[in-house]
Symmetry: C2
Subunit: 287 residues, 2 copies
């Protein structure tokens, strides 16, 4: 399947990410429909011309006409949805997702899925500290990374389709990882960072701390404002990888602490220089 504008794309779950997909794809001339939990969300999306049609329930006709379906749901809800409604998929349809964990998603869904439909998983690495369709904005994809996580069950055709989708959405870098590699890396770059931000917010209780903060503290804790329902599920579904990353980080903090305790200035400077050199690789590439 080629991702040309004759293809009908259904978004299931119209929140911040699903909504941003809908806006981006409609803007590019695709026929986009949506299924989501609330009628008010569908009404909003229709009035904002983000979608051509929508339903607040798993409407069989809407599902059956879609060539490509993007699931932007919490992991558990996504698994249940496939189990309950996959009978409505069009033969030959391709489905993808935006889920932030992969090991617990790719294998179970590929195992239960009809053999005439292919699931190719992907993770758009973009977000905001606010949620909901009203905050959706394709600009969050600009300069960001998009990771496709195929298993050995995926066809080259579907992998390429999914990479094309990332390009159409405007991501700066498209890459592929196995679901296991993905979860290890995400445990580090996304989940560990959210753990740190939360702990920075809850470990110190000096009153009026906000009068004495600089930009560094604000930057490190921007993501401390988070959706507890979603993130607790993501943490628990990637528990082993996250615990491993927490251990690596804790060991490194202990190494810095030891150098500080000993007054080992050169040792501290060496860590700081390594940090400075490596950080230069991470600047955002904008289009």
């Amino acid at each position: 399947m080629k991702l040309d504008t004759t293809k009908k794309i259904l978004i299931v779950g119209l929140g911040l990410i699903g909504g941003s997909y809908a806006r981006a794809l409609t803007d590019k001339g695709y026929y986009v429909t949506a299924i989501t939990g609330r009628q008010s969300t569908i009404d909003y999306a229709l009035s904002a011309s983000m979608i051509a049609k929508g339903a607040a329930n798993p409407d069989p006709a809407l599902i059956a006409e879609a060539d490509l379906i993007v699931f932007a749901l919490y992991p558990g809800v996504f698994l249940d949805w496939i189990r309950d409604y996959q009978q409505h998929f069009k033969p030959g349809a391709v489905i993808t997702d935006v889920t932030g964990v992969k090991g617990c998603i790719v294998e179970p869904i590929q195992s239960m899925l009809r053999s005439d439909v292919e699931f190719i998983a992907s993770h758009p690495m973009a977000g905001r500290e606010v949620s909901g369709v009203e905050n959706s904005d394709p600009a969050i994809f600009r300069g960001a990374n998009y990771v496709v996580t195929p298993s050995e069950k995926n066809t080259q055709d579907a992998i390429e389709l999914c990479c094309d989708l990332g390009r159409v959405l405007g991501f700066a870098r498209i890459s592929t990882l196995s679901p296991e590699e993905h979860d290890e890396i995400i445990g580090f770059v996304s989940q560990l960072t959210h753990c740190i931000a939360v702990c920075l917010m809850t470990c110190e209780h000096h009153e009026r701390l906000q009068d004495y903060t600089g930009d560094s503290f604000r930057d490190l804790t921007r993501i401390a404002r988070l959706n507890d329902e979603m993130w607790s599920e993501l943490f628990l579904r990637n528990k082993d990888a996250l615990l491993h990353q927490m251990s690596l980080f804790e060991e490194e903090l202990a190494r810095l602490r030891e150098r500080l305790e000993k007054g080992d200035r050169e040792g501290l400077r060496e860590m700081m220089r390594a940090s400075t050199a490596r950080r230069a690789l991470f600047d955002k590439k904008t289009d």
Copy 2:
């Protein structure tokens, strides 16, 4: 002393912060001079009309004409400077600084200083991940916090002068703390955050990690690019407070880890909700 534009202000140390002070004060109509280590920096500042006069050595005449002197030097260099050149100060002059640690600065300087000159310490909580006079920009003060740290030796007059300086520079919030309170808070909001950013950069060595990062990781590690000479000195001069803050943070991370290990989803959500609620207090107030 009132901070009107008849006052002559000398900046000692024309880097990112000293340069931003010079630009801001010259823009507001003050007569600003500078002493710094390199002639090329003075030449740059003169050509950019940031200062009226300058010298690449501790020129006695330049020191003697200043009513207010701002020291923007590393702590150790600042201490040596006062010891070596304080004989040139104008009687009745007020001196202040921009140093990021206070306990190790306020007491020694007030003890050795001539009795006809007053040192009132302050900390402009602003910065960038680049250094040098070429990167100086008073815009970094906008929306930021400015903390004056008087001791019992300071006069109300000098405290007010120093607060006025913060207002003239364009800071959003001016407050006072004792040097000890300052160091405890700074150990948390600034130094601990830099430790965390460094450790995030040095604890994981997955190659091409930069292809898989999102904004959260970039935000948490923006400050991982740091001046190792300055920060190692600041860490070591505030060692006890920083070690204490590291311990509080490590304990909190252990608390989160325990909830994750146990699969205690409600416990995780509770920490996330507390974090989300508290973070709302920290948004930057822009003018």
